[in-house]
């Protein structure tokens, strides 16, 4: 297990290093931020002063050197636009995104697993067909359009919920959260639902496939033969054994939720990191884009690591294989 961990960590580090290089040089080609950031009425001396202050007068490889040195110290540069450290700026927006992602996944799991199990246990029943048809539609609906439709229905036509923004927040341990005030919660519901619908379709499909397979296994038949209540057979014996693929995919999807938050946050003007990324791309605010990327790469590498380890804890067969290789 230890050798496996060390090897995986080494791999993770390599990925980070490669991505840092690609990201830096890739974004260097985007355009000249000088044209955008300097007041056109500024005189030459002011322009040069700004260029020097932002370090844009140095050759590319020197800038890359600064970038790497900064990276090692957790310094990802200063936002051109906000004039704040890029990492600090992103971290200040991160709670909003995480809150959205977690509520979305929660809704997906709480509704998706039971629906998937129902569809898996009675695959020929009409309500199972309805559930599966719904999941195909939820799976296929483009996320941004689905968001627009939610706004159209609940904000424009019905007027029940606000169309965008975050609303009132309450500080918990210094972190602003929305779900504790009614106003905040009402702003959170639609974006969270938008995140949840796709995940829920995925959970339904996975759970159904797993349930259909597990329900035929000998240990389930044995549990039935022992006279256990159907509720216990399904809730314990079946549920436990379908959780492995569901946990893996959900773990991997957590990263996806954060990535797709770009879309949901743009639609609902939710002030998270995804909206920050889109705004920063538009404004050519290179340090923020680079910092966002490095943070996302880091997050993904960590998620993959945690899922692999979690998987080996849930399924002993994987543990044996992982230990040996």
């Amino acid at each position: 297990m230890l050798a496996y961990l060390i090897r995986r960590l080494g791999q993770a580090f390599l990925v980070m290093a490669v991505m840092a290089t690609i990201v830096f040089f890739g974004l260097f080609a985007v355009g000249n931020p000088v044209d955008l950031l300097i007041n056109p009425e500024a005189d030459l001396a002011e322009q040069e002063e700004t260029i020097r202050r932002l370090g844009l007068d140095k050759p590319v490889h020197v800038q890359f050197g600064f970038f790497l040195a900064g990276l090692a110290q957790g310094d990802l540069g200063t936002s051109f636009v906000h004039n704040r450290p890029a990492l600090e700026l992103i971290l200040s927006r991160l709670p909003a995104t995480l809150e959205l992602a977690f509520l979305g996944i929660l809704i997906a799991v709480v509704l998706g697993i039971p629906l998937g199990m129902i569809a898996g246990l009675k695959p020929e029943a009409p309500y199972s067909k309805v559930i599966m048809a719904g999941s195909v539609v939820g799976f296929s609906t483009p996320n941004f359009w689905q968001g627009l439709m939610l706004i159209m229905l609940f904000a424009v036509f019905l007027g029940w919920l606000p169309a965008g923004g975050r609303g009132d927040t309450v500080d918990v341990l210094g972190i602003p959260v929305s779900f504790l005030t009614w106003d905040g919660l009402s702003h959170l519901i639609l974006p969270a639902l938008n995140v949840a619908i796709y995940k829920m379709s995925l959970v339904i499909r996975l759970t159904r496939a797993g349930t259909a397979e597990v329900a035929l296994q000998d240990y389930v038949k044995y549990a039935r033969a022992r006279g256990l209540s159907p509720f216990r057979v399904v809730g314990v014996h079946v549920l436990k054994n379908i959780l492995i693929p569901v946990v893996t995919v959900l773990g991997l999807e957590t990263g996806n939720v954060i990535a797709f938050a770009v879309v949901t946050e743009t639609v609902f003007s939710w002030p998270g990191i995804g909206k920050l990324l889109i705004d920063s791309i538009g404004l050519l605010d290179r340090p923020v884009v680079v910092a966002y990327l490095m943070l996302t790469v880091f997050l993904f590498v960590m998620i993959n690591l945690v899922v692999d380890i979690g998987y080996s804890l849930l399924d002993p067969r994987v543990r044996v294989k992982g230990g040996r290789s």
Partner: protein
């Protein structure tokens, strides 16, 4: 009774599911509509002589000043939404089709290479595939476009770059199995050149899984392209895809002019559902584990 070829069996199995047949026919209709957009669309939405600003923001079914009926309404500039959608559909389908077929080619060549060569070539290719697939395609494409800039060609490049890895992985896995089979040994014994064994003998046998993934990936490509265009980094405003039409309508949605975003989205959704239903069914047929 004619000979039972794999293709015939495939067709018979496919026709056995009414839902898949409906979706397949729907897909055919959608593809033909896109292909003949110039003939089918009631108006050329990009010919300024044909659009009238006086007919701007009409609700669906309204007749305009020129006696032209806007069945799905018109946008701010007086453009017929139905026509704009048909042209948009063409761009969406064209972009994803070109991107996926290029990605299939790239992935297939690299996957075959990895399977045939082994050693460091295989390790290198498969490492890149693993790393790339651990990141969400939308995010990778978004960042590629952030550095490449807007444009139909650039969207296609970004889509190829995010999709080749799926095909490389699938082709390699299937080819590794095929290469060990007797017919490849026989071809080797006949002293055929390696490229001919790979492309002439192994390749046709790894096609079924590639086709399944390709169907799903076309749906993905359409959705990613639409999302990118919605986020403002996709196709340019001069060649609006369905995604860009929806983005344009977003501004009017809050004032109740829903149809500008609504109908292009419905078209997008119907297209994606049809592709996914057909893809699901094809996968079931070709999956040896599900064989009845």
């Amino acid at each position: 009774m004619t000979a039972d070829t794999p293709l015939r069996r495939f067709v018979v199995d496919f026709l056995a599911s009414p839902l898949a047949v409906i979706a397949g026919l729907g897909l055919l209709a959608i593809a033909l509509t896109a292909l003949f957009a110039g003939i089918i669309a009631p108006q050329n939405p990009y010919d300024l002589a044909q659009i009238d600003i006086m007919d701007g923001s009409l609700t669906p079914g309204t007749e305009g000043f020129g006696g032209f009926t806007y069945w799905l309404g018109s946008d701010e500039q007086g453009r017929d939404m139905l026509s704009a959608m048909i042209y948009g559909l063409r761009i969406s389908l064209m972009v994803s089709f070109v991107a996926v077929s290029s990605a299939v080619t790239v992935g297939m060549v690299l996957g075959l290479l990895a399977a045939a060569r082994g050693g460091w070539v295989e390790t290198l290719i498969m490492r890149i595939v693993d790393i790339q697939l651990s990141f969400p395609a939308l995010l990778v494409a978004l960042l590629l476009l952030a550095s490449l800039g807007k444009g139909v060609d650039k969207v296609i490049i970004a889509l190829i770059l995010v999709q080749w890895a799926y095909f490389a992985r699938t082709v390699r896995a299937a080819a590794l199995v095929e290469i060990r089979k007797d017919y490849v040994t026989a071809a080797r014994a006949a002293a055929l050149p390696q490229w001919r064994i790979l492309f002439g003998h192994v390749l046709p046998n790894v096609m079924p899984p590639v086709l399944v993934i390709a169907t799903v990936q076309i749906a993905n490509a359409i959705a990613i392209e639409a999302s990118l265009s919605f986020l403002g980094v996709g196709v340019p405003i001069t060649e609006p895809s369905l995604g860009l039409l929806i983005a344009n309508g977003f501004d009017y949605l809050l004032s109740g002019r829903y149809w500008i975003s609504f109908y292009p989205g419905v078209a997008l959704l119907v297209t994606l559902v049809c592709i996914n239903v057909v893809g699901d069914h094809v996968r079931d047929i070709l999956n040896p584990r599900m064989q009845r």
